[in-house]
């Protein structure tokens, strides 16, 4: 049975009392209402203890009512949806919500780790740097695991996130962060001016402080003005208002990051919907109306549950009709804190006392005190009596030295206000100090961004409205919209005065950073040890590094550092502000790019046919390629691949090679262009012929290779490797547009236009004769080796035929328009049926290329020269080409370079593996004799043994030498013979035949 809402006020608030919700916290049932946050519902149920601190495991309550909360962090939801470190202050209540306190064992009330408090005298800032060093082995075995277990906050689910995320783009003229009075006024002005506006509000409700503080605007009660304004904005077609959306970062060129919590207010997202959406908003102008954050005062016991920010207390009372305490004391150093007194009194709560650090208070406040029978003490809170059950008694040091005590069950604290300077500082602009409000205000904001209202250090309601309105109108104007904005909403400004007070000296721990348990004395210690720079202070004490990124602690921390180091606060300065403004789920940044949709998938034109054949696919870049085609009864991949190779070498087979990059090179200067990008010459290639080409990078290292054919006087068809297709296109465009703009040449990728198949084997011509129009001459004379031309196929379509061979067999490559790709595969099966045609995959392709000693990816490693690959004779000496000069550098032509050779094991039964190193026989392996490594291996059906290619020092001079293949990482060692890399048909008779 749920506990009654003991601390729910009888009326008022923006909760929907007709919609009760039940929820559980630490296993106990409670109830709340629609419109509650978890924190407000806990407050309404009289729950004060909600968490334990990071280091000392001290009991903690709820400090704030917003996203700056350092204490009230819970594990929300359960199982695979468990979300650690969720702020109870922003988690919306929903039916069945489950939350648990964290960083405690076995329970929140009896946390064994609170024993850490006993060691507090030793656990000062940076203590771990001074110990745990002996013996050295103990760190990983003993100390570190213990520290890791003790540290951390909540527990991640530990299993895959079941929810979905997506990412979207939005565009506007004026982006407004925050829907308080300044933000609404800015949106109103910009919208009326005709600008496209996006307004982001992190809360589920629009209105910001108006929801808690009320006020009068344009003569209307704030709530009424709010409704009217939201209605006006909603009626503008180009104004988009987004709740549950936090603007978390600003990037270059007016790009902003925002997180929309689409369905976090529900137990789980509805079908087809995402949990959260990451927005990338492109805005010409941005008005930051993110408000200000009230800051604590550092005093002994300031972390006792029941100590709460004054503004938070009035939010709980005013907005949620939930009383954090029955008898409240206020500790303030500024005028604004008093508003909590007024709110509390208005809700029928008792005020125990006001402790005001300022020398004077207004007569209005004085009469308020006397009318309501509470005392005003001039001084400061020096201690709090109370434990996990919350505040009981408050010790006060009165101005003049006397002491007093106040009995209360809640202490509201107001140390002044810090404008939310995060967004404006993310481009490394440092905020500047303003003495009159004793706070940092934005300065050096990113281009196009301006702060307005409380975010700009102007806290009055009237000022927020007028500044926001002016900023919105100006932003619209700057973005090119000159419509009439009308008049700004009007309200009075409340008085604001503050007498800075950061730290009250006293006995007991006084916390600056609640979550990380950084105390005032830690800061003093840091200063003593020379960590005076604010960045050193932060790193040494961990001040400001918790999940709230110091929103409630940084300014107090540096003020204390300023005091102990004898500098002013602006001299002491701030640390660097970094996004995101609030922590953002990693899943949201990933969007749908996870699991199988992590990256796009490219399918070859014959993919679905290959899948029907039962092909096993392999990822090659983004491609799925058929790796081999297993047949029933084959025991492993090797058996299938060997069968495919034998079928090709003895009959005919085909393979989809559409993944090769294909580029149309057009224009009168196409030949001249290719001469500059290849090391060999293409301008003299005859029409109807193909030629193998090699490209270098400008540093003289081999970049890519492929076959290029001349289809017409001014038209070449260039192919690249699969891996480099996109990069070669980019490189060629660079050559065309930047290096050689004088050439008349045009480039177009036609990779996807053509389904290309390699058909190889002695019966290739027989197969082709079946499918190619009978009028086409495929004889050696009519279609010689390296010929290339268009042919007609039976059934009326045209294809391009290239007589090129990667396998070393009599072979052609045939291209048909891609929508015929699947039909082509079927027709090749049909045409080759009587010749036992066999489809083969990339493995068999690889075997045959190794048997032929052709280089591929492993040899094109980005560190090999043409000479290393045995292709230096291709380098023309009659022309300039990319990479020519640098290829001649001494280390690149040194005689002891590692060059491609073949290898075969001396034990014919031995399997080879790539990655083994080559060591001279009889020597002990070491850095001095590590002479190369094995790049590619395969079982060669032709040789009936494993063979391989290797890069070996002076390898070509050492053919016949027996060396050692050293593979310690796989525990293998064996002898191999260095040999000619062309294992199969070295004269090339078969491919020319």
């Amino acid at each position: 049975m749920a506990v009654a809402q003991t601390n729910r006020l009888g009326n008022g608030g923006l909760i929907d009392r007709s919609a009760p919700l039940s929820f559980r916290f630490d296993g106990k049932s409670f109830s709340g209402f629609q419109g509650d946050t978890l924190a407000s519902a806990l407050v309404a149920n009289g729950v004060k203890l909600v968490g334990r601190s990071f280091k000392y495991h001290r009991p903690r309550g709820i400090l704030t009512a917003g996203s700056e909360e350092p204490n009230a962090l819970v594990e929300l939801r359960s199982g695979s949806r468990r979300e650690p470190n969720t702020k109870a202050t922003t988690a919306e209540l929903y039916e069945g919500l489950e939350a648990a306190s964290q960083n405690r064992w076995p329970s929140l009330r009896f946390d064994v780790m609170s024993v850490n408090q006993l060691f507090a005298p030793i656990f000062v800032a940076g203590f771990y740097y001074k110990t745990f060093m002996w013996p050295a082995k103990f760190w990983e075995a003993i100390y570190e695991p213990a520290i890791r277990r003790a540290a951390g906050l909540g527990r991640a689910a530990g299993v895959a996130d079941p929810d979905h995320y997506d990412k979207a783009w939005a565009h506007c003229d004026v982006l407004v962060a925050g829907s308080g009075p300044a933000g609404l006024a800015a949106a109103l002005a910009a919208g009326r001016s005709g600008a496209r506006v996006i307004l982001c509000e992190e809360d589920f409700a629009f209105g910001g402080r108006l929801l808690s503080d009320g006020g009068t605007i344009d003569g209307l009660p704030a709530a009424e003005w709010l409704l009217r304004t939201l209605a006006e904005l909603a009626a503008m077609p180009d104004v988009r208002i987004m709740n549950r959306t936090t603007l978390f970062g600003v990037y270059d060129g007016g790009t902003y990051g925002a997180l929309e919590r689409v369905n976090d207010h529900l137990p789980s997202p509805p079908e087809h919907q995402v949990r959260q959406r990451l927005w990338r908003i492109v805005a010409k102008r941005c008005v930051v109306a993110a408000g200000a954050l009230e800051r604590p005062i550092v005093f002994a016991g300031n972390d006792t549950p029941g100590v709460m920010m004054a503004s938070a207390m009035r939010t709980y009372v005013g907005r949620y009709a939930a009383a954090p305490a029955k008898r409240i004391a206020l500790f303030t150093n500024n005028e604004d804190g008093w508003r909590t007194v007024e709110t509390a009194l208005g809700a029928g709560l008792q005020i125990a006392a006001v402790i005001d650090a300022r020398p004077d208070i207004s007569s209005a406040h004085r009469s308020l005190a006397s009318k309501n029978g509470f005392t005003v003490l001039h001084g400061a809170v020096s201690g709090v009596d109370g434990g996990k059950d919350g505040v009981r008694k408050i010790a006060v040091s009165l101005t003049g030295g006397a002491r007093a005590e106040v009995e209360a069950d809640g202490l509201a604290v107001s140390g002044g206000w810090n404008p939310a300077v995060g967004l404006t500082s993310y481009h490394r602009g440092r905020p500047k100090w303003r003495d009159d409000i004793a706070a940092f205000v934005p300065d050096g904001a990113p281009p196009g961004m301006v702060a307005a209202g409380a975010a700009n250090g102007d806290f009055g309601l009237g000022a927020c409205l007028s500044q926001g309105f002016a900023a919105g109108a100006a932003a619209a104007h700057d973005a090119g919209h000159g419509g009439k904005a009308g008049t700004a909403p009007v309200a009075d400004d409340e008085a604001f005065s503050v007498t800075p007070l950061w730290h009250v000296a006293g006995k007991g721990k006084a916390f600056v950073d609640y979550q990380h348990d950084v105390t005032a004395s830690d800061i003093e210690l840091a200063q003593r040890e020379g960590f005076e720079s604010v960045e050193h202070l932060k790193r040494y004490t961990t001040l400001g590094m918790a999940t709230d990124q110091g929103k409630t602690s940084n300014v107090a921390g540096l003020a204390i550092m300023a005091a102990v180091s004898g500098r002013s606060i602006p001299e002491t300065g701030t640390t660097i502000y970094r996004p995101p403004y609030v922590p953002v789920a990693i899943g949201a940044f990933a969007g749908h790019h996870r699991d199988e949709t992590f990256h796009a998938t490219r399918l070859t034109p014959s993919h679905h046919w290959a899948a029907e054949q039962g092909a096993v696919f392999v990822d090659t870049g983004l491609w799925k390629r058929a790796q081999w085609y297993p047949r029933a009864g084959e025991k492993d991949w090797l058996e299938s691949v060997t069968r495919e190779v034998k079928a090709v070498r003895s009959g005919v087979g085909f393979c989809d090679v559409s993944t090769l990059g294909k580029i149309d090179v057009h224009g009168p200067d196409a030949g001249a262009f290719l001469d500059r990008v290849y090391i060999n010459t293409f301008s003299n290639l005859a029409v109807g012929k193909a030629r193998y080409g090699l490209m270098l990078r400008e540093d003289g290292i081999v970049y890519d290779d492929g076959t290029t054919s001349r289809l017409a006087e001014d038209h070449y068809f260039l192919t690249t490797t699969t891996a480099k297709a996109g990069l070669v296109m980019q490189h060629l465009e660079f050559c065309r547009q930047v290096l050689f703009p004088e050439l008349d040449v045009q480039l177009t990728s036609v990779s996807d236009q053509w389904a290309q198949f390699s058909i190889a084997g002695p019966k290739t011509r027989d197969l082709l004769k079946e499918i190619v129009d009978p009028t086409e001459d495929l004889s050696n004379e009519g279609f010689p080796f390296m010929g290339a031309r268009e042919v007609a196929l039976r059934g009326g379509i045209k294809a391009r035929l290239f007589r090129i061979s990667f396998s070393g067999e009599m072979a052609f490559e045939i291209s048909v328009p891609a929508r015929y790709g699947e039909a082509m595969a079927r027709n090749l099966m049909l045409a080759g049926k009587s010749f036992g045609v066999t489809p083969y995959g990339t493995e068999a392709l690889g075997v045959m290329r190794i048997e032929k000693g052709h280089i591929a990816g492993p040899e094109l490693s980005g560190t090999t020269t043409a000479a290393d690959l045995g292709l230096d004779k291709m380098m023309s000496t009659k022309k300039d080409f990319i990479g020519r000069v640098m290829a001649g550098r001494e280390a690149l032509v040194a005689p002891d370079r590692q060059v491609v050779v073949g290898i075969k094991p001396t034990d014919k039964a031995r399997r080879l593996r790539s990655g083994a190193h080559i060591i001279p026989k009889g020597q002990t392996p070491g850095p001095g004799n590590d002479q190369g490594y094995v790049t590619s291996v395969c079982f060669s059906p032709a040789s009936d043994q494993w063979i391989g290619l290797a890069l070996v020092e002076r390898g070509r001079e050492r053919i016949g030498e027996i060396v050692h293949a050293h593979d310690p990482i796989r525990g293998e060692d064996y002898d191999v013979e260095l040999c000619n890399p062309v294992f199969y048909d070295p004269d090339g008779g078969r491919q020319r035949g």
Binding site: D166, W169, V282, P605, S751, D752, R819, L830
Partner: protein, 207 residues
Amino acid sequence: MAEFSWDVRSPLDRALLAGPYGAHGDAGVTLTEIRNFDLVQVMARRGKAVDMATVAKTRFGVAAPETPKAVHTADATLIWSGPDQFFILAKNGKHAMDWLVPTFAASGSLSEQSHARALISISGAKARAMLAKLSSIDLHPGAFAVGAAAATSMDHTSVTLWRGNDRDGQAVLNVLVFATFAESLWHTMLDSAAEYGVAIAHSEELT
């Protein structure tokens, strides 16, 4: 001698299942694959931009787009695809390579791209909301008017995007995507549109 049948298969032949998808109720997004079109890329030769434009004007009756636009003629759409280049999208071989090569012989370089792309037409009340998940282009009616085109990327994949004539008062956005990426992008589109409800179809008609 075997009989060869050269049936064509669009890149989305397997992936596209006509009918409703995703959330129930009225479909917010309609995805229609247009099949069996002719597509030729024309790139101007050095110093021949004006000649190419003249040839295009003569043949199509309209100027080829010199900025990111798509221009409709009676039987073709000319879509800007980059500086000094454009696509000719047509049907039934009226503007196929065989006809165009001689026309542009002196001024342009032509590449056959009919099979290199898939064409997906997107419409419906939520078309822009769905495309906002895929495209960084501002598709606001004022920013991307009828006839606007863009060479851009979706899901890290190059596409040509243009806005056709409105249909039933709603914007129609067309996407040409590389054929080998088409199935992947299609699934991403379905994922993005599922929450709005999708009506899936294919068509032989250019819109």
